[in-house]
Symmetry: C2
Subunit: 318 residues, 2 copies
Protein backbone atom coordinates (compact mmCIF):
# COMPACT_ATOMS: atom_id res chain seq x y z
CA UNK A 1 0.00 0.00 0.00
CA UNK A 2 1.41 3.43 -0.86
CA UNK A 3 1.59 5.79 2.11
CA UNK A 4 -1.25 8.18 2.78
CA UNK A 5 0.30 11.63 3.12
CA UNK A 6 -0.91 14.80 4.80
CA UNK A 7 0.80 18.13 4.18
CA UNK A 8 0.37 21.12 6.49
CA UNK A 9 0.71 24.00 4.07
CA UNK A 10 1.15 27.73 3.81
CA UNK A 11 1.70 29.40 0.43
CA UNK A 12 4.68 29.45 -1.91
CA UNK A 13 7.11 27.07 -0.14
CA UNK A 14 4.38 24.56 0.59
CA UNK A 15 3.08 24.73 -2.96
CA UNK A 16 6.54 24.01 -4.38
CA UNK A 17 7.00 21.10 -2.02
CA UNK A 18 3.62 19.69 -2.99
CA UNK A 19 4.49 19.96 -6.66
CA UNK A 20 7.59 17.87 -5.99
CA UNK A 21 5.67 15.41 -3.83
CA UNK A 22 3.08 14.88 -6.56
CA UNK A 23 5.87 13.89 -8.96
CA UNK A 24 6.64 10.83 -6.84
CA UNK A 25 3.34 9.72 -5.28
CA UNK A 26 -0.18 9.15 -6.48
CA UNK A 27 -2.22 12.33 -5.99
CA UNK A 28 -5.12 10.32 -4.60
CA UNK A 29 -3.03 9.56 -1.51
CA UNK A 30 -2.28 13.21 -0.70
CA UNK A 31 -4.24 15.70 1.41
CA UNK A 32 -3.07 19.29 1.88
CA UNK A 33 -4.38 21.17 4.93
CA UNK A 34 -3.95 24.81 4.06
CA UNK A 35 -3.65 27.98 6.14
CA UNK A 36 -6.61 30.34 5.75
CA UNK A 37 -5.46 32.94 8.28
CA UNK A 38 -4.41 35.14 5.34
CA UNK A 39 -7.88 35.03 3.81
CA UNK A 40 -9.22 38.51 3.34
CA UNK A 41 -12.15 40.30 1.80
CA UNK A 42 -11.02 42.77 -0.86
CA UNK A 43 -13.73 44.85 -2.56
CA UNK A 44 -16.24 42.38 -1.12
CA UNK A 45 -14.47 39.39 -2.68
CA UNK A 46 -13.25 36.48 -0.58
CA UNK A 47 -9.56 35.94 -1.38
CA UNK A 48 -7.78 32.81 -0.09
CA UNK A 49 -4.12 33.48 -0.94
CA UNK A 50 -2.56 30.25 0.32
CA UNK A 51 -5.23 27.95 -1.10
CA UNK A 52 -4.92 29.67 -4.46
CA UNK A 53 -1.12 29.51 -4.43
CA UNK A 54 -1.27 25.78 -3.67
CA UNK A 55 -3.85 25.15 -6.40
CA UNK A 56 -2.32 27.39 -9.07
CA UNK A 57 1.19 26.04 -8.40
CA UNK A 58 0.31 22.36 -8.45
CA UNK A 59 -1.82 22.98 -11.55
CA UNK A 60 1.32 24.50 -13.18
CA UNK A 61 -0.66 27.72 -13.70
CA UNK A 62 1.22 29.94 -11.24
CA UNK A 63 3.29 32.87 -12.40
CA UNK A 64 6.63 31.42 -11.35
CA UNK A 65 8.55 34.69 -11.57
CA UNK A 66 6.09 36.68 -9.52
CA UNK A 67 5.44 33.78 -7.15
CA UNK A 68 1.71 34.45 -6.89
CA UNK A 69 -1.25 34.71 -9.23
CA UNK A 70 -1.63 33.22 -12.68
CA UNK A 71 0.81 33.05 -15.55
CA UNK A 72 -0.22 35.07 -18.58
CA UNK A 73 -2.25 37.36 -16.38
CA UNK A 74 -3.71 40.72 -17.45
CA UNK A 75 -4.45 43.66 -15.15
CA UNK A 76 -7.23 45.60 -16.83
CA UNK A 77 -9.55 45.71 -13.81
CA UNK A 78 -6.78 46.88 -11.47
CA UNK A 79 -5.61 49.52 -13.95
CA UNK A 80 -9.19 50.72 -14.30
CA UNK A 81 -9.49 50.92 -10.52
CA UNK A 82 -7.00 53.80 -10.62
CA UNK A 83 -9.84 56.03 -11.79
CA UNK A 84 -11.23 55.71 -8.27
CA UNK A 85 -7.91 56.05 -6.47
CA UNK A 86 -8.84 59.49 -5.12
CA UNK A 87 -12.24 58.23 -4.04
CA UNK A 88 -11.32 55.51 -1.57
CA UNK A 89 -10.44 52.67 -3.94
CA UNK A 90 -8.23 49.98 -2.42
CA UNK A 91 -5.34 49.95 -4.87
CA UNK A 92 -2.46 48.36 -2.95
CA UNK A 93 -3.56 44.76 -3.52
CA UNK A 94 -3.37 43.48 -7.07
CA UNK A 95 -5.84 40.98 -8.43
CA UNK A 96 -5.34 39.95 -12.05
CA UNK A 97 -8.28 39.63 -14.42
CA UNK A 98 -7.99 35.84 -14.69
CA UNK A 99 -7.45 35.47 -10.95
CA UNK A 100 -10.51 37.67 -10.32
CA UNK A 101 -12.66 34.93 -11.80
CA UNK A 102 -11.63 32.63 -8.96
CA UNK A 103 -12.54 35.21 -6.33
CA UNK A 104 -15.81 36.17 -8.02
CA UNK A 105 -16.83 32.53 -8.21
CA UNK A 106 -15.70 31.70 -4.67
CA UNK A 107 -17.53 34.72 -3.25
CA UNK A 108 -20.70 33.86 -5.10
CA UNK A 109 -20.58 30.26 -3.89
CA UNK A 110 -19.98 31.29 -0.27
CA UNK A 111 -22.89 33.73 -0.51
CA UNK A 112 -25.02 30.87 -1.83
CA UNK A 113 -24.26 29.01 1.39
CA UNK A 114 -21.43 26.71 0.33
CA UNK A 115 -18.66 26.17 2.88
CA UNK A 116 -15.07 27.11 2.14
CA UNK A 117 -14.30 23.35 2.17
CA UNK A 118 -16.88 22.69 -0.51
CA UNK A 119 -15.69 25.60 -2.65
CA UNK A 120 -12.05 24.56 -2.21
CA UNK A 121 -12.82 21.01 -3.27
CA UNK A 122 -14.58 22.32 -6.37
CA UNK A 123 -11.63 24.63 -6.98
CA UNK A 124 -9.11 21.82 -7.12
CA UNK A 125 -11.44 19.78 -9.33
CA UNK A 126 -11.87 22.76 -11.66
CA UNK A 127 -8.08 22.88 -11.99
CA UNK A 128 -7.86 19.15 -12.61
CA UNK A 129 -6.01 18.32 -9.39
CA UNK A 130 -6.20 14.80 -8.00
CA UNK A 131 -5.14 15.53 -4.43
CA UNK A 132 -7.41 16.78 -1.68
CA UNK A 133 -7.12 20.41 -0.61
CA UNK A 134 -8.72 21.21 2.75
CA UNK A 135 -8.82 24.64 4.35
CA UNK A 136 -7.67 24.42 7.96
CA UNK A 137 -11.16 25.59 8.96
CA UNK A 138 -14.41 26.75 7.40
CA UNK A 139 -14.70 29.42 10.07
CA UNK A 140 -13.30 32.94 9.68
CA UNK A 141 -9.82 33.28 11.19
CA UNK A 142 -7.72 36.39 10.60
CA UNK A 143 -3.98 36.55 11.22
CA UNK A 144 -3.30 39.95 12.77
CA UNK A 145 0.06 41.52 13.48
CA UNK A 146 0.98 44.09 16.09
CA UNK A 147 3.52 46.26 14.33
CA UNK A 148 5.41 49.50 14.72
CA UNK A 149 2.65 51.15 12.67
CA UNK A 150 -0.25 49.59 14.57
CA UNK A 151 -2.35 46.47 14.21
CA UNK A 152 -2.38 45.15 10.65
CA UNK A 153 -4.15 42.33 8.86
CA UNK A 154 -1.77 39.88 7.27
CA UNK A 155 -2.13 41.16 3.70
CA UNK A 156 -1.82 44.77 4.87
CA UNK A 157 1.45 43.79 6.52
CA UNK A 158 2.72 41.51 3.77
CA UNK A 159 1.62 43.35 0.65
CA UNK A 160 0.57 46.81 1.81
CA UNK A 161 3.72 47.34 3.88
CA UNK A 162 5.93 44.89 1.90
CA UNK A 163 6.53 43.11 5.27
CA UNK A 164 8.99 45.92 5.97
CA UNK A 165 7.76 46.89 9.42
CA UNK A 166 8.75 45.50 12.82
CA UNK A 167 6.35 42.92 14.29
CA UNK A 168 5.81 42.77 18.05
CA UNK A 169 3.02 40.21 18.16
CA UNK A 170 0.89 37.81 16.14
CA UNK A 171 -2.58 36.62 16.93
CA UNK A 172 -5.30 34.79 15.08
CA UNK A 173 -8.67 36.49 15.41
CA UNK A 174 -11.54 34.05 15.65
CA UNK A 175 -9.35 30.99 16.03
CA UNK A 176 -10.55 30.00 19.49
CA UNK A 177 -14.08 29.47 18.24
CA UNK A 178 -12.99 27.89 14.96
CA UNK A 179 -13.27 24.19 14.24
CA UNK A 180 -11.08 22.12 11.95
CA UNK A 181 -12.67 21.78 8.52
CA UNK A 182 -14.41 18.46 7.84
CA UNK A 183 -11.84 15.73 7.27
CA UNK A 184 -8.85 17.58 8.74
CA UNK A 185 -8.53 15.63 11.98
CA UNK A 186 -9.42 12.35 10.29
CA UNK A 187 -6.73 12.91 7.65
CA UNK A 188 -4.09 13.63 10.28
CA UNK A 189 -5.07 10.67 12.44
CA UNK A 190 -5.03 8.20 9.56
CA UNK A 191 -1.95 9.46 7.69
CA UNK A 192 1.13 7.29 7.17
CA UNK A 193 3.24 10.42 6.81
CA UNK A 194 2.64 14.03 7.79
CA UNK A 195 4.82 16.82 6.47
CA UNK A 196 4.93 20.34 7.82
CA UNK A 197 5.85 22.18 4.64
CA UNK A 198 8.61 24.81 4.44
CA UNK A 199 6.33 27.75 5.23
CA UNK A 200 6.58 30.59 7.73
CA UNK A 201 6.32 28.86 11.15
CA UNK A 202 4.58 31.80 12.81
CA UNK A 203 2.06 33.10 10.27
CA UNK A 204 1.59 30.20 7.83
CA UNK A 205 1.91 27.07 9.97
CA UNK A 206 1.03 28.93 13.18
CA UNK A 207 -2.62 29.57 12.30
CA UNK A 208 -3.16 25.93 11.33
CA UNK A 209 -1.73 24.78 14.66
CA UNK A 210 -3.95 27.27 16.48
CA UNK A 211 -7.21 25.78 15.25
CA UNK A 212 -8.42 23.84 18.29
CA UNK A 213 -7.70 20.15 17.83
CA UNK A 214 -5.13 20.30 15.02
CA UNK A 215 -2.01 20.76 17.12
CA UNK A 216 -3.21 18.04 19.50
CA UNK A 217 -3.78 15.68 16.59
CA UNK A 218 -0.27 16.35 15.29
CA UNK A 219 1.20 15.75 18.74
CA UNK A 220 -0.56 12.40 18.76
CA UNK A 221 1.01 11.57 15.39
CA UNK A 222 4.47 12.98 16.20
CA UNK A 223 6.18 9.74 15.19
CA UNK A 224 5.21 10.14 11.52
CA UNK A 225 5.36 13.93 11.46
CA UNK A 226 8.30 15.51 9.62
CA UNK A 227 8.95 19.19 8.96
CA UNK A 228 11.05 20.84 6.30
CA UNK A 229 12.86 23.87 7.70
CA UNK A 230 11.86 27.09 5.94
CA UNK A 231 15.06 28.64 7.31
CA UNK A 232 18.27 27.88 5.42
CA UNK A 233 21.58 29.20 6.73
CA UNK A 234 19.71 31.53 9.06
CA UNK A 235 17.58 33.15 6.38
CA UNK A 236 14.14 32.70 4.89
CA UNK A 237 14.22 31.80 1.20
CA UNK A 238 11.27 34.08 0.63
CA UNK A 239 9.28 36.44 2.81
CA UNK A 240 9.84 37.74 6.31
CA UNK A 241 10.08 34.50 8.34
CA UNK A 242 13.67 35.14 9.46
CA UNK A 243 13.09 38.69 10.59
CA UNK A 244 9.75 37.83 12.20
CA UNK A 245 11.25 34.89 14.14
CA UNK A 246 13.88 37.22 15.62
CA UNK A 247 11.44 40.02 16.33
CA UNK A 248 9.20 37.62 18.23
CA UNK A 249 12.01 36.20 20.34
CA UNK A 250 12.89 33.08 18.41
CA UNK A 251 16.12 32.14 16.68
CA UNK A 252 16.19 32.43 12.92
CA UNK A 253 17.91 29.09 12.38
CA UNK A 254 17.13 25.41 12.03
CA UNK A 255 17.52 25.20 15.81
CA UNK A 256 14.91 27.91 16.28
CA UNK A 257 12.52 26.05 13.98
CA UNK A 258 13.31 22.79 15.79
CA UNK A 259 12.36 24.26 19.16
CA UNK A 260 9.04 25.55 17.79
CA UNK A 261 8.14 22.24 16.17
CA UNK A 262 9.64 19.72 18.61
CA UNK A 263 6.37 18.95 20.42
CA UNK A 264 4.72 17.57 17.29
CA UNK A 265 7.44 16.52 14.82
CA UNK A 266 9.96 13.72 15.18
CA UNK A 267 12.27 14.72 12.32
CA UNK A 268 13.39 18.05 10.91
CA UNK A 269 14.69 18.11 7.35
CA UNK A 270 17.41 20.72 6.99
CA UNK A 271 19.45 21.95 4.07
CA UNK A 272 23.01 20.85 3.36
CA UNK A 273 23.99 24.42 4.22
CA UNK A 274 22.96 23.75 7.83
CA UNK A 275 24.83 20.44 8.25
CA UNK A 276 27.03 22.02 10.91
CA UNK A 277 23.96 22.85 13.02
CA UNK A 278 22.40 19.38 12.95
CA UNK A 279 23.47 18.66 16.51
CA UNK A 280 21.58 21.70 17.76
CA UNK A 281 18.45 20.21 16.25
CA UNK A 282 19.16 16.79 17.74
CA UNK A 283 19.66 18.50 21.11
CA UNK A 284 15.96 19.39 21.29
CA UNK A 285 15.03 15.75 20.78
CA UNK A 286 14.57 15.58 17.02
CA UNK A 287 16.02 13.39 14.34
CA UNK A 288 17.65 15.27 11.50
CA UNK A 289 17.57 14.59 7.78
CA UNK A 290 19.95 16.58 5.61
CA UNK A 291 19.38 17.20 1.91
CA UNK A 292 18.97 19.95 -0.67
CA UNK A 293 15.83 21.88 0.24
CA UNK A 294 16.00 24.88 -2.10
CA UNK A 295 13.41 24.06 -4.72
CA UNK A 296 14.29 26.63 -7.35
CA UNK A 297 16.04 23.96 -9.45
CA UNK A 298 14.02 21.19 -11.18
CA UNK A 299 14.05 17.87 -9.40
CA UNK A 300 14.86 19.22 -5.96
CA UNK A 301 11.22 19.23 -4.86
CA UNK A 302 10.80 15.56 -5.79
CA UNK A 303 14.03 14.45 -4.11
CA UNK A 304 13.16 16.50 -1.04
CA UNK A 305 9.75 14.84 -0.92
CA UNK A 306 11.44 11.43 -1.15
CA UNK A 307 13.62 12.28 1.86
CA UNK A 308 10.58 13.45 3.80
CA UNK A 309 8.72 10.21 3.14
CA UNK A 310 11.74 8.15 4.12
CA UNK A 311 12.06 10.14 7.33
CA UNK A 312 8.38 9.66 8.14
CA UNK A 313 8.84 5.91 7.78
CA UNK A 314 11.80 5.97 10.14
CA UNK A 315 14.62 6.00 7.60
CA UNK A 316 16.57 9.15 8.18
CA UNK A 317 19.33 10.04 5.70
CA UNK A 318 22.02 12.05 7.42
Amino acid sequence: MPPVIVAIAGGVGAARFLRGLLEIVDAGNVTAIVNTGDDTVFHGLHVSPDIDTVVYTTAAAIDADRGWGLAGETWTAMESLQRYADHGALTWFNLGDRDLATHLWRTGRLRDGASLSEVTDQLRHAWGLGFRVLPMTDDPVATMLNTATGKLGFQEYFVGHHHDVAVSGVHFEGVLSSRPAPGVIEAIMSADAIVVCPSNPLVSIGPVLAVPGIREALVARRDVCVAVSPIVDGAALKGPADRMLRELGHESSVAGVARLYAPFISTLVIDEADRMRADEVRAVGLKVAITDTIMSKPGVGASLARVVLQAASGKVPV
Copy 2:
Protein backbone atom coordinates in the same frame (compact mmCIF):
# COMPACT_ATOMS: atom_id res chain seq x y z
CA MET B 1 -31.43 82.52 -14.42
CA PRO B 2 -31.14 79.25 -16.33
CA PRO B 3 -33.72 76.66 -15.33
CA VAL B 4 -32.90 74.06 -12.69
CA ILE B 5 -33.73 70.68 -14.18
CA VAL B 6 -34.50 67.33 -12.59
CA ALA B 7 -34.55 64.14 -14.68
CA ILE B 8 -36.22 60.94 -13.48
CA ALA B 9 -34.09 58.30 -15.13
CA GLY B 10 -33.88 54.63 -15.97
CA GLY B 11 -31.06 53.30 -18.12
CA VAL B 12 -30.35 53.57 -21.83
CA GLY B 13 -33.15 55.91 -22.98
CA ALA B 14 -32.68 58.21 -20.02
CA ALA B 15 -28.92 58.28 -20.49
CA ARG B 16 -29.28 59.28 -24.14
CA PHE B 17 -31.75 62.00 -23.24
CA LEU B 18 -29.41 63.32 -20.56
CA ARG B 19 -26.54 63.41 -23.03
CA GLY B 20 -28.68 65.59 -25.29
CA LEU B 21 -29.83 67.76 -22.42
CA LEU B 22 -26.25 68.39 -21.31
CA GLU B 23 -25.47 69.71 -24.80
CA ILE B 24 -27.86 72.62 -24.28
CA VAL B 25 -27.77 73.42 -20.55
CA ASP B 26 -25.12 73.93 -17.92
CA ALA B 27 -24.46 70.62 -16.16
CA GLY B 28 -24.46 72.36 -12.80
CA ASN B 29 -28.20 72.95 -13.18
CA VAL B 30 -29.09 69.29 -13.76
CA THR B 31 -29.92 66.55 -11.27
CA ALA B 32 -30.68 62.99 -12.38
CA ILE B 33 -32.67 60.80 -9.99
CA VAL B 34 -31.92 57.26 -11.08
CA ASN B 35 -33.70 53.95 -10.66
CA THR B 36 -31.89 51.49 -8.41
CA GLY B 37 -34.51 48.75 -8.47
CA ASP B 38 -32.28 46.85 -10.94
CA ASP B 39 -29.34 46.92 -8.55
CA THR B 40 -28.13 43.42 -7.87
CA VAL B 41 -25.31 41.63 -6.14
CA PHE B 42 -23.35 39.44 -8.55
CA HIS B 43 -20.48 37.38 -7.12
CA GLY B 44 -20.72 39.59 -4.03
CA LEU B 45 -20.31 42.79 -6.06
CA HIS B 46 -22.89 45.57 -5.94
CA VAL B 47 -23.92 46.37 -9.51
CA SER B 48 -26.04 49.46 -10.24
CA PRO B 49 -26.93 49.04 -13.92
CA ASP B 50 -28.94 52.23 -14.46
CA ILE B 51 -26.57 54.51 -12.55
CA ASP B 52 -23.64 53.10 -14.50
CA THR B 53 -25.43 53.44 -17.84
CA VAL B 54 -26.24 57.08 -17.05
CA VAL B 55 -22.67 57.80 -15.96
CA TYR B 56 -20.89 55.88 -18.71
CA THR B 57 -23.17 57.35 -21.41
CA THR B 58 -22.91 60.97 -20.35
CA ALA B 59 -19.15 60.51 -19.92
CA ALA B 60 -19.06 59.29 -23.56
CA ALA B 61 -17.53 56.04 -22.32
CA ILE B 62 -20.44 53.72 -23.06
CA ASP B 63 -20.19 51.00 -25.66
CA ALA B 64 -22.75 52.52 -28.03
CA ASP B 65 -23.27 49.40 -30.12
CA ARG B 66 -23.86 47.12 -27.17
CA GLY B 67 -25.81 49.77 -25.25
CA TRP B 68 -24.27 48.90 -21.89
CA GLY B 69 -20.84 48.68 -20.36
CA LEU B 70 -17.69 50.43 -21.47
CA ALA B 71 -16.26 50.97 -24.92
CA GLY B 72 -13.00 49.15 -25.56
CA GLU B 73 -13.91 46.58 -22.95
CA THR B 74 -12.11 43.25 -22.44
CA TRP B 75 -13.66 40.10 -20.98
CA THR B 76 -10.79 38.17 -19.45
CA ALA B 77 -12.39 37.70 -16.03
CA MET B 78 -15.68 36.46 -17.50
CA GLU B 79 -13.89 34.10 -19.90
CA SER B 80 -11.87 32.76 -16.98
CA LEU B 81 -15.07 32.23 -15.02
CA GLN B 82 -15.99 29.51 -17.51
CA ARG B 83 -13.53 27.24 -15.70
CA TYR B 84 -16.02 27.20 -12.84
CA ALA B 85 -19.13 26.88 -15.01
CA ASP B 86 -19.74 23.30 -13.86
CA HIS B 87 -19.19 24.28 -10.23
CA GLY B 88 -21.92 26.84 -9.69
CA ALA B 89 -20.37 29.91 -11.32
CA LEU B 90 -22.88 32.56 -12.36
CA THR B 91 -22.04 32.94 -16.03
CA TRP B 92 -25.15 34.52 -17.55
CA PHE B 93 -24.33 38.09 -16.54
CA ASN B 94 -21.33 39.66 -18.24
CA LEU B 95 -19.12 42.14 -16.45
CA GLY B 96 -16.19 43.49 -18.46
CA ASP B 97 -12.75 43.84 -16.90
CA ARG B 98 -12.86 47.65 -16.96
CA ASP B 99 -16.43 47.74 -15.72
CA LEU B 100 -15.47 45.34 -12.90
CA ALA B 101 -13.31 48.09 -11.44
CA THR B 102 -16.42 50.19 -10.86
CA HIS B 103 -18.20 47.36 -9.08
CA LEU B 104 -15.14 46.37 -7.03
CA TRP B 105 -14.69 49.96 -5.92
CA ARG B 106 -18.39 50.55 -5.22
CA THR B 107 -18.65 47.34 -3.22
CA GLY B 108 -15.58 48.20 -1.16
CA ARG B 109 -16.91 51.69 -0.43
CA LEU B 110 -20.34 50.38 0.61
CA ARG B 111 -18.66 47.82 2.88
CA ASP B 112 -16.66 50.67 4.41
CA GLY B 113 -19.96 52.29 5.35
CA ALA B 114 -20.45 54.82 2.54
CA SER B 115 -24.01 55.28 1.31
CA LEU B 116 -24.96 54.59 -2.31
CA SER B 117 -25.54 58.36 -2.64
CA GLU B 118 -22.02 59.10 -1.53
CA VAL B 119 -20.51 56.46 -3.79
CA THR B 120 -22.63 57.64 -6.74
CA ASP B 121 -21.52 61.23 -6.23
CA GLN B 122 -17.90 60.08 -6.20
CA LEU B 123 -18.59 57.99 -9.29
CA ARG B 124 -19.79 60.92 -11.34
CA HIS B 125 -16.86 63.02 -10.13
CA ALA B 126 -14.43 60.24 -11.05
CA TRP B 127 -15.89 60.32 -14.57
CA GLY B 128 -15.65 64.12 -14.74
CA LEU B 129 -19.38 64.76 -14.83
CA GLY B 130 -20.72 68.13 -13.74
CA PHE B 131 -24.33 67.14 -13.11
CA ARG B 132 -25.65 65.56 -9.96
CA VAL B 133 -26.54 61.87 -10.02
CA LEU B 134 -28.74 60.71 -7.16
CA PRO B 135 -29.91 57.17 -6.61
CA MET B 136 -33.66 57.14 -5.96
CA THR B 137 -32.88 55.72 -2.51
CA ASP B 138 -29.93 54.54 -0.45
CA ASP B 139 -32.04 51.64 0.81
CA PRO B 140 -32.15 48.25 -0.90
CA VAL B 141 -35.06 47.94 -3.32
CA ALA B 142 -35.34 45.02 -5.71
CA THR B 143 -37.61 44.97 -8.74
CA MET B 144 -39.12 41.50 -8.92
CA LEU B 145 -41.22 40.04 -11.72
CA ASN B 146 -43.81 37.33 -11.57
CA THR B 147 -43.31 35.43 -14.79
CA ALA B 148 -44.35 32.29 -16.57
CA THR B 149 -41.20 30.66 -15.18
CA GLY B 150 -41.60 31.93 -11.62
CA LYS B 151 -40.49 34.95 -9.65
CA LEU B 152 -37.40 36.56 -11.15
CA GLY B 153 -35.14 39.43 -10.17
CA PHE B 154 -34.96 42.12 -12.81
CA GLN B 155 -31.57 41.13 -14.20
CA GLU B 156 -32.55 37.47 -14.25
CA TYR B 157 -35.57 38.45 -16.32
CA PHE B 158 -33.84 41.02 -18.48
CA VAL B 159 -30.47 39.40 -19.09
CA GLY B 160 -30.82 35.81 -17.93
CA HIS B 161 -34.10 35.26 -19.83
CA HIS B 162 -33.50 37.97 -22.48
CA HIS B 163 -36.85 39.49 -21.33
CA ASP B 164 -38.44 36.76 -23.41
CA VAL B 165 -40.89 35.44 -20.85
CA ALA B 166 -44.42 36.59 -20.05
CA VAL B 167 -44.76 38.90 -17.03
CA SER B 168 -47.84 38.72 -14.83
CA GLY B 169 -46.80 41.11 -12.09
CA VAL B 170 -44.17 43.56 -10.93
CA HIS B 171 -43.30 44.50 -7.40
CA PHE B 172 -40.52 46.34 -5.68
CA GLU B 173 -39.17 44.47 -2.68
CA GLY B 174 -38.19 46.73 0.16
CA VAL B 175 -39.69 49.84 -1.35
CA LEU B 176 -42.25 50.48 1.38
CA SER B 177 -39.55 50.94 3.98
CA SER B 178 -37.23 52.85 1.65
CA ARG B 179 -36.67 56.57 1.87
CA PRO B 180 -35.75 58.93 -0.95
CA ALA B 181 -32.00 59.48 -1.07
CA PRO B 182 -30.76 62.76 0.45
CA GLY B 183 -31.60 65.65 -1.89
CA VAL B 184 -34.18 63.83 -4.01
CA ILE B 185 -37.30 65.50 -2.66
CA GLU B 186 -35.56 68.88 -2.36
CA ALA B 187 -34.45 68.67 -5.99
CA ILE B 188 -37.94 67.86 -7.20
CA MET B 189 -39.56 70.58 -5.10
CA SER B 190 -37.16 73.29 -6.25
CA ALA B 191 -36.85 72.36 -9.93
CA ASP B 192 -37.94 74.70 -12.71
CA ALA B 193 -38.42 71.72 -15.00
CA ILE B 194 -38.81 68.01 -14.33
CA VAL B 195 -38.50 65.44 -17.07
CA VAL B 196 -39.56 61.84 -16.86
CA CYS B 197 -37.06 60.33 -19.27
CA PRO B 198 -38.01 57.85 -22.02
CA SER B 199 -37.52 54.75 -19.90
CA ASN B 200 -39.70 51.72 -19.21
CA PRO B 201 -42.70 53.14 -17.28
CA LEU B 202 -43.20 49.99 -15.22
CA VAL B 203 -39.74 48.79 -14.26
CA SER B 204 -37.52 51.85 -14.72
CA ILE B 205 -39.71 54.81 -13.77
CA GLY B 206 -42.06 52.65 -11.67
CA PRO B 207 -39.57 51.89 -8.89
CA VAL B 208 -38.66 55.58 -8.55
CA LEU B 209 -42.33 56.51 -8.21
CA ALA B 210 -42.80 53.78 -5.62
CA VAL B 211 -40.26 55.19 -3.17
CA PRO B 212 -42.51 56.81 -0.55
CA GLY B 213 -42.63 60.56 -1.11
CA ILE B 214 -41.31 60.77 -4.66
CA ARG B 215 -44.59 60.31 -6.51
CA GLU B 216 -46.27 62.75 -4.15
CA ALA B 217 -43.56 65.32 -4.77
CA LEU B 218 -43.98 64.92 -8.53
CA VAL B 219 -47.76 65.30 -8.22
CA ALA B 220 -47.13 68.57 -6.36
CA ARG B 221 -44.92 69.75 -9.23
CA ARG B 222 -47.16 68.46 -12.03
CA ASP B 223 -47.23 71.85 -13.75
CA VAL B 224 -43.49 71.70 -14.59
CA CYS B 225 -43.31 67.95 -15.06
CA VAL B 226 -42.95 66.67 -18.63
CA ALA B 227 -42.49 63.08 -19.80
CA VAL B 228 -41.01 61.77 -23.03
CA SER B 229 -42.92 58.74 -24.24
CA PRO B 230 -40.72 55.63 -24.42
CA ILE B 231 -43.32 54.13 -26.74
CA VAL B 232 -43.19 55.20 -30.39
CA ASP B 233 -45.77 53.93 -32.83
CA GLY B 234 -46.86 51.34 -30.31
CA ALA B 235 -43.43 49.85 -29.77
CA ALA B 236 -40.54 50.25 -27.39
CA LEU B 237 -37.35 51.44 -29.06
CA LYS B 238 -35.39 49.09 -26.88
CA GLY B 239 -36.26 46.48 -24.32
CA PRO B 240 -39.56 44.92 -23.32
CA ALA B 241 -41.65 47.97 -22.34
CA ASP B 242 -44.24 47.42 -25.07
CA ARG B 243 -44.79 43.77 -24.33
CA MET B 244 -44.73 44.32 -20.57
CA LEU B 245 -47.29 47.14 -20.79
CA ARG B 246 -49.69 44.85 -22.63
CA GLU B 247 -49.05 41.88 -20.36
CA LEU B 248 -49.82 43.99 -17.32
CA GLY B 249 -53.06 45.37 -18.72
CA HIS B 250 -51.93 48.69 -20.14
CA GLU B 251 -51.93 49.92 -23.71
CA SER B 252 -48.61 49.95 -25.51
CA SER B 253 -49.13 53.39 -27.00
CA VAL B 254 -48.63 57.04 -26.18
CA ALA B 255 -52.17 56.96 -24.78
CA GLY B 256 -51.24 54.10 -22.45
CA VAL B 257 -48.20 56.01 -21.24
CA ALA B 258 -50.32 59.16 -20.85
CA ARG B 259 -52.80 57.36 -18.60
CA LEU B 260 -49.99 56.02 -16.38
CA TYR B 261 -48.32 59.40 -16.05
CA ALA B 262 -51.31 61.80 -16.08
CA PRO B 263 -51.45 62.24 -12.29
CA PHE B 264 -47.98 63.80 -12.13
CA ILE B 265 -47.11 65.20 -15.57
CA SER B 266 -48.71 68.08 -17.42
CA THR B 267 -47.21 67.43 -20.85
CA LEU B 268 -46.31 64.28 -22.75
CA VAL B 269 -43.74 64.59 -25.53
CA ILE B 270 -44.54 62.16 -28.32
CA ASP B 271 -42.82 61.27 -31.57
CA GLU B 272 -43.89 62.60 -34.94
CA ALA B 273 -44.92 59.01 -35.72
CA ASP B 274 -47.66 59.34 -33.12
CA ARG B 275 -49.07 62.70 -34.28
CA MET B 276 -52.36 61.01 -35.16
CA ARG B 277 -52.75 59.86 -31.55
CA ALA B 278 -52.15 63.25 -29.91
CA ASP B 279 -55.85 63.71 -29.18
CA GLU B 280 -55.94 60.50 -27.18
CA VAL B 281 -53.22 61.94 -24.99
CA ARG B 282 -55.07 65.26 -24.64
CA ALA B 283 -58.18 63.30 -23.72
CA VAL B 284 -56.59 62.21 -20.43
CA GLY B 285 -55.89 65.82 -19.52
CA LEU B 286 -52.37 66.28 -20.81
CA LYS B 287 -50.80 68.77 -23.14
CA VAL B 288 -48.91 67.22 -26.03
CA ALA B 289 -45.61 68.21 -27.59
CA ILE B 290 -44.69 66.52 -30.86
CA THR B 291 -41.12 66.17 -32.09
CA ASP B 292 -38.50 63.63 -33.13
CA THR B 293 -37.77 61.48 -30.09
CA ILE B 294 -35.62 58.71 -31.57
CA MET B 295 -32.13 59.61 -30.39
CA SER B 296 -30.07 57.33 -32.60
CA LYS B 297 -29.16 60.24 -34.90
CA PRO B 298 -26.85 63.04 -33.66
CA GLY B 299 -28.62 66.22 -32.58
CA VAL B 300 -31.98 64.60 -31.85
CA GLY B 301 -31.27 64.34 -28.12
CA ALA B 302 -30.45 68.03 -27.86
CA SER B 303 -33.47 69.16 -29.88
CA LEU B 304 -35.70 66.82 -27.87
CA ALA B 305 -34.31 68.30 -24.65
CA ARG B 306 -35.08 71.78 -25.99
CA VAL B 307 -38.69 70.80 -26.63
CA VAL B 308 -38.96 69.31 -23.14
CA LEU B 309 -37.68 72.52 -21.51
CA GLN B 310 -40.06 74.62 -23.58
CA ALA B 311 -42.94 72.38 -22.58
CA ALA B 312 -41.98 72.61 -18.91
CA SER B 313 -42.07 76.40 -19.17
CA GLY B 314 -45.51 76.26 -20.74
CA LYS B 315 -44.56 76.61 -24.41
CA VAL B 316 -45.81 73.52 -26.16
CA PRO B 317 -44.80 72.97 -29.79
CA VAL B 318 -47.46 70.95 -31.57
